[in-house]
Structure formats: structure tokens, C-alpha cells
Symmetry: D2
Subunit: 379 residues, 4 copies
């Protein structure tokens, strides 16, 4: 590729799983879709399997590969480190990258314990670099529209939030044990799914002050492999429900389950204000349903379809109704990150915000285990 007059921004990506490839696609597509202020380069890709690292680097368009992630972090062509490894590795990798003074783009959750998250936040503050955590759903242009409507007061004063993130991939009692069933890997329905919903609630309505909750392990053991005889005991939550009190006065409910048959990606919410209601479901991510009171008998919920009046959508398609997919939300996440890197905006959760999400999830966990209301700021 020819020389560009723009400054270089070299991306180093750790991990070559599904999420690694999703990052690779997102970086490339951000470059093709948007006019960026950097010459964005896919500099380096790391995977502990050297052959796989090299193969993927070649297929995905990275300049070179590393078998050792620490080499990637110290690679001078890398200014931004993207971490897509298993949850328990987020901490050491992000800490090393921050120590090297590099910007960090870490998949969610930030860490596998609140204490780790606190350390990561402090390190990021010390390093003074841009950080981002991959709560990608909020980069959906329809969510941007929802937030704008709320901020502009189109729904009046917000009084309630009812949110749910449920899937059914563990619904079958024979679905085998995996790392997602371990507390030490930030597993469980609350951490794995619910944290996305908490991020969304905070993104749209701000701080949550107090919570009460109920968690349950429905299936106390699962086979170690599909169809296997060996059972492994499980202590993590299969579903968690909570009551929420927001700082702005709104009240509401939270639900998160990975046993809820029929749902594949049901990150959904209804937000009501004194002048209307707004509803969303990730399973139809290009739609938003809104209601504003009108003449009696002549009002009703309206289905808005994503379209080019939303900047994030227009980047991909000039006509409404053509729809964005999951991978484009990652591209928009990367774009928001790059804007932050050049000081043009601050969309998307950084380590400070991710710490707040962890604090909130912890409050819910304590409220459920102690069967009492918990003030989030006490955590």
C-alpha cells in the first residue's frame, strides 16, 4: 500500500478466536467505511500457537505475527493493543499494555474480579492513555437514537427501566460445563450476559444507586462434555433478577438468564418517561419501538427502522431498511475508539466506566446472596 500523509496508528491484536476475527474485520472495515485521521495499520497479531498466528495474520491482513503476546505489546509498530483472549487473561495483558504506555481496547468483562478491575482502572489513570471495553451493543445507531431521545427529553422525565438479557444456550440441562460456569472466569448469567444490560442501563440512564436481587443455580451440575457421563458441580447463577433504583429517580427491573428457551440474543429493554415509552430488542437490532401519547385512539407504538439519518448507519448504507449486523456494531465501536484516540469524542465505555459496571454487578451479587437491598456506592 502507498504511503499516506496521515500519522500511523498500528493495531496489535491478541487472540484469534471468533472475537479476534471480529476485531480484525472491524479495524479493516472502519478504515474502509470512515475517513480516519490516522493511517490505521493492522500491525501485529498474537496467538500462542505460532502457526495459527501467522496463518491468521496473513488471511486477515496483519503485517506480522507473534506467538508471545508480550512481544506484541513491546512491538514498536503497535500503538493500540486489542485484547480478545479468555477473561482471566484480560488483567495481565491490559496491565502490561498500560505499563508500556499503549492504548488498550479490551473485550468485556474488564476483569474477573472487582479488585482486578480497580487496579486496571488505576493503571489506566496513571498511564493516561485511551482505554475501551467491548460493550459493543451500545454502538448500535438505534441505541444512539434512543439515548438522544432520552437526553432531548422526548420521553419527558424518565420513570422506569425494565431490562432483560436472556439467551438459552445453557437451557438444556445437558449443555456441558464450560469456563462460563466458573466464577473465577467471570462466568454465570449475571456476569456473562447481565453485564451487557447493566452497561446499557448506565449508558442510557446513568447511575444506579441501589439494588435488590435474587439469583439461582437451577442446574447444580452439568456433564463435563456433551453427552458425557462425568458430572461437574456448578455454583454459578443460571438466572438473576433484580430491582433497580436509578439516581435520576427511575425504578425498574433487571433479568438475566441463560436458560430462557426461545431467546438467542434477547438484550431488551423498555424505558418509560412521563411523556412516552421506548422499547428495544437486540434480536431485531435495526428497530426501535416508541410511543408518545397523541389523540386518544390515534396513538400507538411506532416501529422505527434504522436508516441513514443516523450517522453510524449512513456510514454503511445510504438507504433505510437495509440493516446493519452484529459485525458492524464492532466496526462502529472501533470507530468510536479511534475518534477518542484523536480527541474527537469520548463515546464508549473506558476502564473507569467498566469498573462502575463491575461494581454494579458485584452489588447485585451481594444483594442476591444476602437477600437485602445494597447501596451500590458502598461496594
Amino acid at each position: 500500500m502507498r504511503e499516506s500523509s496521515l500519522p500511523n496508528l498500528g493495531v496489535g491484536l491478541i487472540g484469534t478466536g471468533f472475537m479476534g476475527r471480529a476485531h480484525a474485520l472491524a479495524f479493516h472495515n472502519a478504515r474502509t467505511t470512515f475517513e480516519l485521521p490516522f493511517n490505521l495499520k493492522l500491525a501485529a497479531l498474537a496467538d500462542a500457537d505460532a502457526a495459527r498466528a501467522e496463518h491468521c495474520a496473513q488471511s486477515w491482513g496483519f503485517d506480522h505475527s507473534h506467538a508471545d503476546w508480550q512481544q506484541l505489546i513491546s512491538d514498536p509498530s503497535v500503538q493500540l493493543v486489542a485484547i480478545t483472549t479468555p477473561n482471566h487473561l484480560h488483567f495481565p495483558m491490559a496491565m502490561a499494555a498500560l505499563d508500556a504506555g499503549k492504548a488498550v481496547y479490551c473485550e468485556k468483562p474488564l476483569a474477573v474480579s472487582l479488585e482486578q478491575a480497580r487496579q486496571m482502572h488505576r493503571a489506566a489513570q496513571s498511564a493516561g492513555v485511551v482505554t475501551r471495553v467491548g460493550y459493543n451493543y451500545q454502538h448500535n445507531p438505534m441505541i444512539g437514537l434512543a439515548r438522544q431521545m432520552i437526553e432531548d427529553g422526548e420521553l419527558g422525565h424518565i420513570i422506569s427501566f425494565q431490562g432483560e438479557f436472556s439467551e438459552d444456550f445453557m437451557g438444556d440441562p445437558q449443555s456441558p460445563w464450560s469456563w462460563r460456569c466458573e466464577q473465577a472466569h467471570a462466568g454465570g448469567a449475571l456476569a456473562d450476559l447481565g453485564s451487557h444490560l447493566l452497561a446499557m442501563a448506565r449508558y442510557l440512564l446513568g447511575d444506579i444507586e441501589a439494588v435488590c436481587a435474587d439469583s439461582q443455580t437451577v442446574h447444580g451440575q452439568r456433564p463435563t462434555t456433551r453427552g458425557g457421563q462425568e458430572q461437574r458441580p456448578i455454583a454459578i447463577d443460571d438466572h438473576t433478577y433484580a430491582l433497580l433504583r436509578f439516581a435520576n429517580g427511575a425504578r425498574g427491573t433487571f433479568a438475566s438468564s441463560w436458560l430462557k428457551h426461545g431467546y438467542k440474543n434477547h438484550l431488551s429493554f423498555e424505558i418509560t418517561g412521563t411523556q412516552g415509552t421506548l422499547a428495544f430488542d437486540q434480536e431485531r437490532l435495526n428497530e426501535l419501538r416508541i410511543y408518545r401519547p397523541g389523540a386518544p385512539g390515534r396513538d400507538g407504538f411506532q416501529r422505527l427502522l434504522a436508516g441513514p439519518t443516523q450517522p453510524g448507519y449512513a456510514a454503511f448504507c445510504p438507504a433505510p431498511g437495509h440493516q446493519l449486523g452484529y459485525n458492524e456494531l464492532k466496526t462502529l465501536e472501533v470507530h468510536a475508539l479511534i475518534q477518542a484516540l484523536c480527541g474527537q469524542g469520548n463515546e464508549g465505555p473506558d476502564f473507569a466506566e467498566a469498573l462502575e459496571i463491575e461494581r454494579l454487578a458485584t452489588a447485585i451479587r451481594i444483594a442476591a446472596s444476602e437477600m437485602r437491598w445494597v447501596t451500590v456506592s458502598d461496594i
Copy 2:
């Protein structure tokens, strides 16, 4: 009308409002739609306004009218007393009817206090008569189908219930004060709407053992009349949210609001078991959505439409897709009551069940006010 060889069952109806007429229609339509074991007679209609009582009696096909409800109760042509008056009158009227040894069909709520409800239950036990309370939504054939599916284990072991009954008729802060805003008249979103949802939850899943809840008065005052200047303070809940623990082990959430813009009759729930999920919304009362896991990528929620395979539906229409309406649910309620009167079944909540619903609502109220979990049997 000609003499019938069947025994007479004389209905005495108190109240000529919307619900009074709904009862009148329901009794007549039950007679036309079903083969009844009684010669059902619309015997007497009472309203404090004598002229209105007589006018409605004539229009609605009642034999005669009373201006004094106590005369209706002692009228020898009346064997069944139907009460559709304001909530605070349910207690004296039902107690008088029970004292006279007559069957009682009382609109919900049973009473305006738990203590009244307890007395009414004891009186019904002493009288040994059939009683019914108008939680009409459970008489929907689609709800009957849902219950059958649950009982037959089609969803496996039930693990969660997420229910809501929201409307928006008080959503406008200028919606004026009414008796529904008074605790003394069993007002508030929890009592007015939520009690229907509690009845439904119990009907489908049985006892609820413990609750935690959050209630809020969003609009602390309302005008005394629409557009009026005078404001009246309000202390009742505008919306209430709760966590539920069922005796069968299921967990879940409860929501009730009369401020939720966009909803007109949103009595809705999702019930998940280990083998499926079932969803219902009263705003589409002829539909049930169910999901049962199948081959991956080949399963999905299925929309069932009401049809004549459900006995309650077949009574009205021989073809599916033609739809029942709200008034037909009342007819089915009356039919269930008449079956109970002749010893053929016991569908529909009696005073004992209505007392349990009141107890549960009271537990939620206490849990919200004291911000703690409450064991329902402690109430």
C-alpha cells in the same frame, strides 16, 4: 318465556355501571351459548337510583328492579347475588348475601383491606355457599391452554415467571384524582392492576412464598378534575416492581404500572421451564406464543391462535381465528360459576383464593415499604 323443566336459578345483580352491564350480558350469553343445568333467570337488578334500576332492568332483560340492594338480597327469586359496585361496598354486600345463605359472585378486589377479606372468607366458609371473584382474565381459553400445558409438563419443570400488568390511563400527570388513588378504596397500580397478575401467577404456577418489592408514587398530587386548578395529594403507588419466589422453586419478576405509556391492557407474562417458554399478552388475548427446543436453527417461537379445540372457544365459534373479546371472558367466568353451582367443577377463584391474592398483595406492599424480603405466609 315458557316453563322449563329445569330448576330455576335466579340472578340478582347489584350495580348498573359498565361492569353491571357486562354481568348482564354475560349471564344472558351463558344461557344462549351453553346448555345449562338450570333455568337461569335474570331475576332482579338493584341500583340506588330507582329509575335507573328500572330502566336498566327493562333494557337488560331482568324481571324486576330494586332501589335498595338489601331488598335484592332478601328477594326470594334471587339465589345468586352478583356485586359490581365500588370496591368499598363489596364487604357489606357480600356479608349480607352470605348471611342470607346466597351464593356470591363479587367483582375484584374482594375487599379494601386484608382484614375485611379474612372476614368474608370466614363468612363464606360458614355459609357453605359457592363464591366467586371476578379475576376474569384466567377464563380465557388461551390461559386454559397455557395451564394445561404447564400441568402436563410440556414446558418441563417451571423455573421462571416474568409478569407485568401495565396500562397508561394515569400516565398523564394531569389525569385527575379518582377513587382509584385512594388506599381506602383498594386503589393504586398494585391493587388495581397488579392483583390481576398475582391471580394469574397463582392460577398458573401456584403459591408464592416470598417477595421483595419497590413501590413509588411518581405524581404526588393530581388535579381534582381534568383541567382543574385544585390539586389533591396522592400517596398510592403509581408503579410497583417485585421479585417473586414460588413454592415450586421458580423465580421471577412482577411489574405493575398505570403510568406506562403505550400500554392499554398489558397483562402479560413469560413462563420458562426446563423444556420451553410460553408467552402471553392480554392485548392480543387470542394468541399464545410458545417455544420448545427443536433442531438447532429449525426451532423458534410459535404463535398459537385461539380456536375450537379449546372448549371455551368452541362454545362461541366453530372456526379458529375468529377471536373472542373481553365480554366473552365474562361469559366464560359466569359459565364456570354456574358449573360450580351445580357441582360440576371448581374453576375460578373463590373467596378463599381471593384472600390468598390479597395476602400476597399485602406482602408486596409491606416488602416495598420496609425494603426487605417478606415471607408471604407470615402475613
Copy 3:
């Protein structure tokens, strides 16, 4: 019942099948629901089976019964004759009633041939009485709202109509032969279902000038009984499709099938004007979807729910979202008929309109059989 000061209107009903009972319910409910200008009396019920006639008369509240329908027509207590017998009997019964100078309320279709329909129309004109034909779906308050919106120009100038009435009750090739499979009984998808859609199209948009069509008999024979070995040849249409040109300039499509799996009562249409679109489906009869262009990205289809701002709904229920059912559409049909009888409005198709519907269906039949466009006024 007591004497009323209003003039009597005696109803004589012929037929005790599903539709007979639907009429009986509708007449009673119209009396209870509306303030009528007559003392509406259920005077006489006729069925060829004398015992059944008497039994139903008693259950349904009719004063007396006849085994001979001609006696019912000459019964001096009968002023209005309601005909719910098989299609081929509509002609002799209606002609006799008209000859006796009585008002006639005939189920659809008016007749089993265009020639019969013409004679019935002429006889009605000579008799100078009120006539009505039971195209009940147009009495839905949501359809009334749709018509009002169109008339008020809310959709601008109407440019297209896309309508369908499909069900699946003959979808199984083993569904047995019935009278509905006979041309001589006005059978076939076009006559049985499609005529409702034609009535609706005319009700909403007026005259159709020209049609082109395609009809097909998919299953050329069916068993004479369910599971039976004997097959009976069938020549009637299983599905019919047409192109429509309206007098107002609108263009569009027509579809009618009784083989369309998944649909139980799919009388549906989309109507587009220069300023909006309106959509309806009888399977959700309490809803109307409308779209009017707004700010780009901020408009979308809106779901209107039936409610008391529509007079026909308010008669049954004071709150929105409670829903009407099929039988209430019959009550509204009866109410419209009674209003016509006392000179207060002219809603609902009379014999003149029903003749136009038959003419249109005939034009479609000819267009399909001759594979050419047909000008409706040429028929």
C-alpha cells in the same frame, strides 16, 4: 318483561346452526348494549326440525318456534326476517319475506347465482323495505376508523389496494368434499372467502371497474368423508388471484385461497395513498397499522388499538385494549340494521350493494376462465 312505550320490532330468525345462534346472541346483545328506538322482541325461531326449533327458541329467548319457515314469514309478530340457512335457500326465503313486505337480513352470499341476486334486488326495490346482507367484517370499529381516515383524506389520494382473504381449512388434500365445493351452492374460495374481501374493498374504496384474474382447482377430487375411500371430483376454485382497477384510479391485487396453510381468518389489506399507508388483518381485528410520512428516520408504522373513541367499541367497553370479538361484530351489524330500520343511517350492505358484490365476483370468475381483462359494468 314489562310493557315498553316503544314500538315493537319482532324478529323472526330462520336457522339454528352456528350462524343462527350468532344472530340470536347479536339481537339480544344489541338490545342490552344500545338504547334502541324499538322494543326489540325475539319473536319467532324456525327450523325444519320442530323439536330443535322449540328447544333453541327456549334456550335463546325466542317467544315461539315454527317448523315451517313460511309460517314464520307470515307470523304477524315478525317484522324482520333473518335468514341463516344454507346458501341455496336464501333466494326462496328472501323472496317470500319481501313478498310479505317484511324487512330482510340475509347472511352472505345474497344468492347462488347472479340471476337470483338480480331478482332479489328488484323484489327488494319493489317491496321498499330495509334489507341487509351479512358482510359482518365491515362493522368492526377499526374498519370504521379506516374508512373515516380514507374519507377524510388522511392518506391523501388512494393509489393502491392489496387485499387477501385466505384460510387453510381445505389445505389438507384429505379435507373432505362439502357443499362449499359446489358451484351451485356458491362454493369455492372466491365466493366463500373472496366475496368478503370484495365487499370490504368496495366499502373502503368504492367501485372496481375492471379485473383480470387467475383461478385454479389444485385438488381435483376429495374424499366424500374424512378418511373415506370414495373420491368426488371437484371443479371449484381452491385459490383465485386478481388484478383490480378501481374507479378512483387505484390499482391493486386480490387473493383468495382456502389452501393457504397457517391462516385461519386472514382477511387482510394494505391501502396506500399519496400520504400514507394503512394495514389490517382480521386475525388481529382490534388493530390497525398506519404509516404517515414524518421526519426521516423518525416515522414508522404505528399500531392503533381499538378503544372507546370509536363509538362501536365504546358501546361494549369504556377502556381501550380490552378487545372485541367476532360475535360483537354481529351485534354491531344488527345495530346498524336497526338504525336503518328507523331511518337513522344506512350503514351495511343492502341487496343493491350485495348485487354489486356478486357482479364483481362474477367478473373475476369470467376473467379467470377466459384469461382476459373484464369490465365489471359489462356483466
Copy 4:
């Protein structure tokens, strides 16, 4: 990038508009998402504006640029020519590329006249190269699933197809004239939108033998610019409706409009067979609704969600419910093309198939203008 042992496949792309960038994204993403048998190179990009060509080449990752498309065609690094220019340029560009013996990937429509399409088809046959035309909607994995179900006989014998492709971007009479309003540029609702539907109908059900149709120009003139005073007369169809007879015996309807308010990308169809119905709407491209008859009252339409059991989906995401977007359909189109280039499959319409689509659209145009049935093979 490093050397690969795979043979090179150099792509030359002509056009830098929305569709040009969509192709650029698709080629890159195909490379990242799939294991390809080629070393796919973005070799050259052409645009008449040399500066824009160079700028886009750099942003989108092409090796070099050309201001003259003929140079791109003769560029030895180019083996595959992708054409995304205005419709009237498809012919000269494709003919030149075929003449140079290069594979051609041309956006739809193939040409602006049937005669051009015939020549292009003959040239492709002579050249013996792989050709593809961008009817991208059929590359949706849900459409693949639909086709599989039909081929496997899951719906029984297919008896009807009801299809529509409507949008509303010309719904406002003040929407200005554009090249899409010109016959000479293959404009009009039938050619612009309807051709996608015809491609889909053929892809799913095969040949259409005969058509009858109705077309209308609703707005006979439009302003030359938005808000401008000058009007320009228009003769092209604003909406077209047709009756279809398929070679397999199925019957049905076709509708195409760009005036239909409320629809943004409503490419939709319902296909019924003797054993079920299948429905799709591009506005919810990750869903398919299917109905198969089951126990009465226990069956109903089922919503299938896209997921990784479909290979095209699995390439992008390992979990269901995450959704693909419009751009991923282009990536899948490119992947199908590359598979054809290496002799591994023949999915997607080539010039022969695109000619058949043009023939069918022409038959509809003639049927509408002459108001008669047209046998497609006569065209």
C-alpha cells in the same frame, strides 16, 4: 503482505459510489471470513475522477487506481472485473471485459434493454468465463434455508407464490426526477425493485411461464430538483402488479412499488405448498416464518432466527441471534462468485440467468401495456 502459495486472483473494481465501496468491503471481508482457494488481491480501482480513484484505492486497500476503466480491464493484474457504474454503462464495460477474457461481476440489472442482455449473454458464452450479476438478496442464509426446505419437499408440492418488493423513496410527489425515472436507464419500480423479486421467485421456484400485469405512472411529472420549480414529465411505472403462472404449476401475485409509504426495503414473499407456508421480509432479513400443519390448535407460524446452522451465517458468527446485515449479503455473494471461479459450486445468477430475469420483466411490461396474458417464452 507476505507471499502466499495460493494462486493470485486480482480484482478490478469500476465505480466508487456506495455500491463500489460495498464491493470493496465484500472482497476484503470474504478474504478475512472464509478460507479462499486464491490469494485474493484488491488489484485496481477505476473512477473517471483520477483523484477520487486514487483516494479510494488508498482508503479501501487497492493496489493502484485508473482513471480510465478500459485500462483497468486491460490491466494484467486484474482477472475479475467488478462493475458498479450506472446501469447504461454495464453493457460496454461487461462486453469489453468479456472480450478481454476476464470474469465479470456486474451489478444488477444486467443491461438497460433486452437486446443488450442477449448480446451480453452470447458474449459470455463465447468467452467461457465465470459471470455473476448482483441480485444479492438470494445470498442471505435464510433464503438458502428457504430454498433447501422447498427442494427437500418440506412444504409439499408448491402451489402459490405471493411476492412484493415495495419501498417509498418516491412516495412523495415532490421527490425529484432522477435517472431511475428513465426507461433508458432501466428505471421504474418494475426494473429497479421488481427485478430483485423476479430473481428471487426464479431462485426459489424456477421458471415462470405466463404473466398478466398492470402498470401505472401515478405522478406524471416531478421537479427536476428537490424543491425546484421546473417539472419534468415521467412515463415510467410507479407501481406494477402482476399475476404469475409458474412452470411447476404454482400461481400467484407480484407487486412492486416505489410509492408505498412505510416500506423501506420490503422484498417479501409468502410461498405455500400442500404441506406448509413460508414467509420472508427483507426488512427482517434474519428471520423466516414457517408454518407446517400440526395438531389442531397446537400449530402456528414459527419464527426462525438466523444462526450458525446455516453455513453462510456461521462464517460470521458462532451464535444465533446476532444478525447479519446488508453488507454481509454482499460478502456472501462474493464468496459464491469465488467458489464458482474455482469450480466449487455455481450459486448466484450468471449472465444466462440474468437474461431470463430481463425476459420476464419484459414480459410483464408487455402484458401491462397490452392488457393481456403473455407467454414468457414468446419474448
